[in-house]
């Protein structure tokens, strides 16, 4: 890279008094005085959350209302701070979803341990656990900060996918592979 000579013109007399520069600066700051502020007035105004934001982890249901989680415990084992605790359980024979393998009897995420890394979402084979856009969570007691299964499904909502993996499996067993 060749050396570039920067021409530094000597300051004129007026410039050396610094008054023109000062007045120019005053004009600039005065314009800022008249502009609206750029501050986001939280909590009245909320910030925009981007699409892949890693907020509080939640459990989701599928469009038929079935809980997607099958308590495979992969998220429990991958979670770095061991925030997730799952008790797997059987689905009763007379339930609509009896063809699904398992369902969690208890599913606790301790939000005081969660580091919002998103590894649980990455590893879940059922697309059941999703980190959504809640970014501020607070409570008065440690017990309050543990999200149990009801709270997780409440925060999660419904995932609008069309996989219906277990239903298709059941149909394939009953009627043969009908693609």
């Amino acid at each position: 890279m060749a050396v570039i000579q920067v021409e530094r013109k000597p300051l004129s007399f007026a410039e050396r008094t610094y008054i023109p520069q000062i007045l120019g600066g005053l004009k600039t700051t005065f314009k800022h005085l008249l502009k609206p502020t750029v501050t986001l007035q939280y909590p009245e105004q909320r910030p925009e959350i981007s699409k892949n934001y890693r907020g509080v982890p939640t459990l989701v249901k599928d469009p038929h209302g079935r809980e997607k989680c099958v308590s495979c415990q992969l998220c429990e084992f991958v979670c770095p701070p061991k925030a997730i605790r799952i008790t797997p359980g059987e689905i009763p024979e007379d339930s609509v979803n009896a063809h699904v393998e398992k369902a969690p009897k208890a599913f606790d995420i301790d939000m005081l341990r969660c580091i919002y890394c998103g590894l649980c979402q990455e590893v879940c084979p059922e697309e059941a656990i999703w980190l959504q856009n809640q970014f501020s969570m607070s409570g008065y007691t440690r017990a309050e900060m543990v999200n149990n299964k009801e709270r997780l499904y409440e925060l999660g909502g419904t995932l609008p996918d069309q996989h219906f993996k277990w239903d298709k499996k059941k149909e394939a067993e009953e009627h043969g592979n009908a693609h």
Partner: protein, 392 residues
């Protein structure tokens, strides 16, 4: 009722006047700190303190406007400074440590004694003469202001020395050097104004009231033009020296937070620190008051439209306006408005300009401003002598 006031014995009147001035000056200085936060915030594109509210007042309709203006933040800050733990570090010289903020407040508040705020028409022996509203109408007006405000240097030196620590010491040394350097230019720069008002034939005076009186002409006359137009260079030098004397950016080396932590007030805590700051804002207010009296016509609304003319015109619509009390209040109101504008300019410049380095500050004070003010004085002396000679 007004005459009742004049029947009171002199010492009661003087006490009441003094109390009135303190009760206006102190909240004004405190409001200055609040205005500083809001104005600096707006200049930087943010809202400033806008959520503080006293919960018992939250139901009052329209209180939201005051809340967003940050008025209650002032009360919150005042309460915090009063009730917070006031630390006196173990390694300081206790007597001087506690003396320094008191010594800072005293000159700042005392200079207000000779500064006139307004005027009214008093009827004395059948003549209506313009009388100033001032705590002490002394003839040495300006000299008293400069003399007393120079004592503020002691407080800064004392604070830096008593704190027994590196950064306050450096801050104190820098502050004292800066303050005494710019005092020379400040006093020399306003001498042309006093040469002008002490025209031969009149009695010599340094009174600030006389300066404003001579800017109170009506219409197009030699004495209706404000002195900023006659003495622009003097005004400029005085303004720069005023910035340096009140330790305001771009000359706030003594308090530069980025390299001295807090300068001379590093070791000071809640109440003592607030005393330093109220003293600084009082200096700013009194300095602006002197600047306005000398160069911007004091309490006259416009050049060519003095207070007396305005009041007489308004009295055409409402006769009670001509009452001396109302006229005095109008004059004070106009004067306070000008002071508020001046304080806004102080803050505007603070958040526009970067700080001068210490050697640049000394350079400007001694090598640029002092020769300029001496040259200015010589120029105006010769000019006024020439004018006086030509008039004969």
């Amino acid at each position: 009722m007004f005459d009742l006031y004049f029947d009171l014995p002199l010492w009661i009147r003087l006490t009441l006047q003094g109390l009135a001035v303190i009760l206006v000056l102190f909240p004004l200085a405190a409001a200055c700190s609040m205005a500083e936060r809001k104005i600096s915030a707006w200049l930087q594109g943010r809202p400033g303190p806008n959520r503080t509210i006293a919960p018992i007042l939250a139901w009052v309709p329209g209180i939201g406007i005051l809340q967003r203006l940050g008025v209650f933040q002032l009360a919150a800050d005042g309460g915090k400074f009063t009730f917070k733990e006031d630390p006196v570090p173990g390694h300081v010289n206790k007597f001087y440590f506690i003396l320094a903020p008191i010594l800072a407040m005293v000159p700042a508040l005392s200079t207000v004694v000779v500064v006139p705020f307004g005027a009214y028409f008093a009827t004395v022996n059948g003549q209506t003469i313009l009388t100033p509203i001032v705590l002490a109408n002394v003839d040495v007006g300006l000299l008293a202001v400069f003399a007393v405000s120079s004592l503020g240097v002691y407080a800064v030196i004392l604070a830096g020395w008593a704190s027994n620590s590196k950064y306050p010491f450096l801050g104190g040394v820098r502050a004292s050097a800066q303050l005494i350097s710019y005092e020379l230019s400040m006093t020399l720069s306003v001498l042309p104004v006093f040469l002008w008002i002490n025209a031969p034939g009149g009695e010599g005076t340094l009174s600030l009231f006389r300066v404003v009186e001579l800017q109170s002409g009506t219409g197009l006359a030699w004495d209706s033009v404000w002195y900023i137009f006659y003495f622009p260079l003097s005004a400029f030098i005085f303004l720069v020296a005023l910035f340096a004397e009140t330790n305001r950016q771009p000359f706030d080396m003594p308090e530069s937070e980025s390299d001295l932590v807090g300068g001379f007030h590093t070791e000071y805590g809640a109440f003592k620190w607030s005393l330093f700051f109220v003293a600084e804002y009082c200096h700013m207010i009194v300095g602006s008051a002197v600047f306005i009296l000398l160069f911007f016509g004091g309490w006259n609304p416009l050049p060519g439209l003095p207070l007396g003319t305005l009041v007489n015109w308004l009295a055409g619509f409402a006769p009670w306006v001509a009452h001396p009390l109302v006229m005095g209040l109008i004059g004070i109101g106009i004067f306070l408005g000008k002071i508020c504008t001046s304080i806004f300019v102080f803050m505007w410049v603070r958040w526009t300009l970067p700080r001068f380095r210490y050697d640049q500050v000394m350079n400007i004070g001694w090598k640029k401003l002092l020769p300029l003010s001496i040259g200015n004085l010589i120029f105006y002396t010769l000019g006024i002598a020439l004018l006086a000679y030509l008039k004969k």
